[in-house]
């Protein structure tokens, strides 16, 4: 099984991406991660279009890690698209954001999010958090049938 598309990280901030990749690397799953820089790209990835035209027909990722604050299509709008699309709505989506705003949390769950995790400010805590996510979503959790 090709594990390379197991995780889709949707994140626009380059620093955050790099730190996240470092954390993934520490847990040995950097290769499993695909990064979309905004909502549009994420949709392209999932639907095999544009930059990701070669992925047409490819299986879904096992989990999507989603930042909320993004330009153009923000995380919650993207979440609505994913959950509205027959082909993508089964994919587990975990919001990974620095916002603990209750309104964001409520909206996310209203839209059918599968998890909501706040990014800690410290890097080592962040590394620990990534470890938890990896263990749960890639090892413990049983993914939908058409996943990677």
């Amino acid at each position: 099984m090709d594990e390379s598309d197991s995780i889709l990280l949707v994140e626009d901030n380059a620093d955050d991406i790099e730190l996240a990749m470092l954390a993934f690397k520490r847990h040995g799953i950097a290769d499993c991660v695909n990064v979309a820089l905004d909502g549009g790209e994420a949709l392209d990835f999932l639907r095999g279009r544009g930059r990701f035209a070669d992925r047409a027909g490819a299986p879904n990722p096992r989990v999507i890690l989603l930042d909320i604050k993004m330009p153009l299509v923000n995380g919650l709008e993207l979440l609505r698209e994913i959950k509205a699309d027959q082909r993508t709505r089964k994919i587990p989506v975990v919001v990974l954001t620095s916002s603990r705003d209750e309104r964001d949390v409520e909206t996310a769950y209203d839209l059918g999010v599968n998890g909501y995790v706040a990014k800690p400010a410290g890097f080592s805590e962040f590394v620990d958090l990534i470890g938890l996510l990896k263990r749960y979503w890639l090892e413990v959790n049983e993914s939908p049938p058409d996943s990677v």
Binding site: N13, D15, D16, L19, S99, A121, G122, F123
Partner: protein, 741 residues
């Protein structure tokens, strides 16, 4: 005294002086209200649009004081005397007729003289007496004068009875004149012990005259009504005089008069009978004719009532005394006449003087009470005239009876023109329409207490000014509607103030809304900024940490220390942002209020702070805390902050002592909770800085912290309507108190 508003000359109906003599009480009453009449009966016959007064005259509700009689009662007593006299007369006549008709000799033989009364006389007296009794039983009202027009069957009956008595008299005269016998007496009476002779001789001339006169008088009264009463009374007085002459003659034993065959001769019984009937006729309508002079309420009448009996009875008595003295030979005719004249002078003088004294006294009292009334009226007039309120009174027909100066000014009308005219003649049509509509409203509801209307809805409102108009019915003591009053007060100033206040209120609300919006915006801004600060902070912390780890071997000690400082700074900034977000959250989140077990919350929070106790000797006491109604999360945050501070500032004590407790006042005031430590404390002069965000009382090197914690606590408590304050002493410790309302 509502009625005085309509008639400047009217008087109070209630007697006001206090000498307790019933007969004199009414002298100050309503005599002047209507010419020659009485206010209450006259009012009863005025067309009354409310139809309620007609039945009320019989029961005059003037307040009667114990032991006194009202004037109306006095009048009623006259009527009672009249009917009593008539009844006795009727009984005498009837007794005579029965005795003769039945021939009861046993009675007649005892006092023969008493039973001598001709049957014609007896019949006439009986008929007249019945007629007077019927008059007395008619209601005592003043009637419209008519001309030979009996108005009721009763009038007809009375007239017929009187006419019958007069006819008997006329027929008797006819008998004498024509020298024939019509036999009326024989038809009535059997032959008694005195034999035919007495009967055949017939009644005396005087009796015949009296029966004719009194019968005619009664008939006249019934057929011609009130106007004739002066003549009726004149006739009755003449009859009375004749009766008295007969009786005096009897007492004086004057043979020439006593002789029945003489022109003035009549039997005592007949004289008594006619005297009683005459008195009855005189008193049965005391308010009519010239009897009003005697029965009237004025001082003159009072004097008459005093003097007349003395003249009527005193002089005959004196005459009798003189006669008796002369007859016994004690004195001669000249001396007797002299003494009689002297005694008469003394007696009449005494009674006239006595009467004058009483009248003067009454007039004094009357003047005093009049002066009191005038003064009271002047005060009321002054009140009405000087009031700024626009005051008017209208009679039930809508004519203005009173307006005050303010009314004149406000509506630009002249008092002379307004009084006696209706609103449509006085005010402009629209205003008059509104006033009349309101008035009709109030009058229709009659007993509605006060009709209150904002003036702009009622009469006013066209001008800048606003008047509050109250319209109310005015009723007298008996509940009859006698008018309506209107009082309009200028509330323009109040209205302007209200409007101003309203405007200021609106402005204030607007400003408050704007302030709220601004605060909301600021909160939102702070929240967003705090969030956006996290990302770069994570980058700083993350990359610094990676460099520190990856380049551990390459880095100089100094570089490593710098990197540590970077990490430390990032950590501090992280917790600062956390605190700020919490502070912001407290302001933004809805309170979720419930009844809370404060002891449990305090203990749980303390348990979570176990890391603070590591390696230290801390004695924490959580006392029993009364429950509170508040938001659980926020109250936990309060304990969290206060306890964390207590741990933090007692860190340098060998044995730290922390106590959580509550003070419960007896008077039901809110519970005060407290958290006490034996830490470093602070100088109370800086206490006001304790709760300001970012203000700190200790250097960061000694005690870390953002300075936002207590500001957050204060914010939480304020949102609960409570407050927080501190007591502290340097090196002794601090107690933080808080209260939820």
């Amino acid at each position: 005294m509502t009625d005085s508003l309509f008639s400047g000359t009217s008087r109070s109906a209630a007697p006001t002086h206090a000498d307790g003599d019933a007969e004199h009480l009414p002298t100050a009453s309503k005599r002047k209200e209507s010419p020659g009449g009485w206010a209450a009966p006259v009012a009863a016959f005025e067309p009354d649009q409310f139809g309620s007064a007609a039945n009320q005259t019989a029961t005059n509700t003037e307040p009667a004081r114990p032991g006194t009689r009202t004037y109306d009662e006095t009048i009623q007593s006259y009527a009672r005397i009249a009917t009593t006299c008539a009844a006795i007369g009727a009984i005498i006549a009837a007794a005579v007729l029965i005795v003769w008709a039945a021939g009861i000799d046993s009675l007649v033989n005892v006092h023969t003289q008493l039973w001598i009364m001709h049957a014609n006389t007896a019949l006439a007296i009986l008929l007249s007496a019945i007629a007077v009794l019927l008059i007395g039983n008619q209601d005592n009202r003043r009637r419209e004068p008519g001309f030979f027009r009996p108005r009721t069957r009763l009038d007809l009956l009375i007239g017929t009875l009187g006419a019958a008595a007069a006819t008997i008299g006329v027929l008797t005269i006819f008998e004498y004149a024509a020298g024939i016998k019509l036999g009326i007496d024989h038809a009535l009476a059997s032959v008694g012990p005195l034999g035919d002779e007495n009967l055949i001789r017939g009644p005396s001339t005087v009796s015949t005259l009296m029966m004719t006169a009194i019968g005619a008088a009664i008939a006249l009264s019934a057929w011609y009504g009130e106007r004739i009463w002066a003549w009726v009374q004149m006739i009755a007085a003449s009859t009375l005089l004749m009766s008295l002459m007969v009786l005096i003659a009897d007492v004086y034993d004057t043979e020439s008069i006593r002789n029945l065959s003489s022109p003035l001769g009549a039997t005592v019984t007949s004289a008594v009978g006619f005297g009683l009937i005459s008195i009855a006729v005189l008193l049965v309508r005391p308010l009519y004719g010239w009897m009003n002079l005697i029965a009237g309420e004025g001082n003159g009448s009072e004097a008459t009532r005093r003097i007349l009996p003395v003249v009527l009875f005193g002089i005959p008595v004196l005459g009798y005394v003189r006669l008796a003295a002369q007859n016994s030979g004690l004195i001669g005719t000249e001396v007797g006449l002299t003494l009689f004249a002297g005694a008469t002078i003394v007696m009449t003088t005494v009674v006239v003087l006595w009467s004058a004294a009483r009248i003067n006294r009454h007039e004094d009292l009357q003047l005093i009470s009049e002066a009191e009334r005038d003064r009271a009226r002047a005060l009321v007039d002054g009140l009405v005239a000087n009031s700024d309120a626009v005051i008017s009174v209208q009679d039930p027909e809508g004519r203005f009876a009173l307006i005050n100066d303010a009314f004149e000014r406000r509506y630009g009308v002249d008092r002379e023109h307004a009084i006696g005219n209706r609103s449509y003649d006085v005010l402009d049509p629209e205003r008059a329409f509104l006033l009349e509509r309101l008035r009709n409203d109030v009058l229709a509801r009659r007993n509605a207490a006060v009709e209150e209307m904002p003036a702009d809805e009622a009469i006013d409102g066209k001008d800048e000014e606003t008047y509050l108009t109250q319209l109310f019915p005015i009723v007298d003591d008996e509940g009859n509607l006698i008018g309506s009053g209107s009082i309009a007060t200028d509330i323009s100033e109040r209205k302007r103030h209200e409007q101003l206040l309203q405007r200021l209120n609106d402005d204030l609300r607007h400003e408050t809304d704007r302030a709220h919006d601004a605060i909301d915006e600021l909160e939102s801004f702070a929240h967003t900024v705090s969030h956006d600060l996290r990302s770069p902070l994570r980058a700083i912390d993350g990359f610094a940490r990676i460099v520190a780890e990856d380049c551990q071997d390459v880095l100089e000690d100094r570089d490593r220390r710098y990197l540590d400082l970077v990490l430390q700074g990032a950590a501090e900034m992280g917790s600062l942002i956390d605190d700020l977000l919490e502070f912001s959250r407290v302001g933004r989140t809805e309170l979720n209020v419930a009844r809370l077990d404060m002891t449990k919350i305090a203990k749980e929070v303390n348990d979570h702070l176990s890391h603070e106790r590591q390696g230290r000797d801390v004695r924490v006491t959580v006392k029993e805390l009364p429950p509170a109604v508040a938001d659980q999360r926020f109250i936990a945050a309060v304990f969290q902050n206060l306890l964390a501070n207590a741990y933090k500032y007692s860190r340098k004590r060998e044995v730290a002592e922390i106590e959580i407790g509550a003070l419960e006042p007896d008077d039901g005031a809110p519970v005060t909770y407290y958290v006490r430590d034996n830490g470093v404390g602070f100088d109370m002069q800086y206490a006001d800085k304790l709760f300001a965000p970012f203000e700190r009382l200790h250097r960061t090197e000694d005690y870390d912290g953002s300075g936002v914690g207590l500001a957050t606590v204060q914010r939480i408590l304020r949102r609960h309507g409570g407050k927080i304050w501190a007591e502290s002493k340097v090196d002794v410790g601090t107690t933080m108190f808080f209260r939820l309302d």
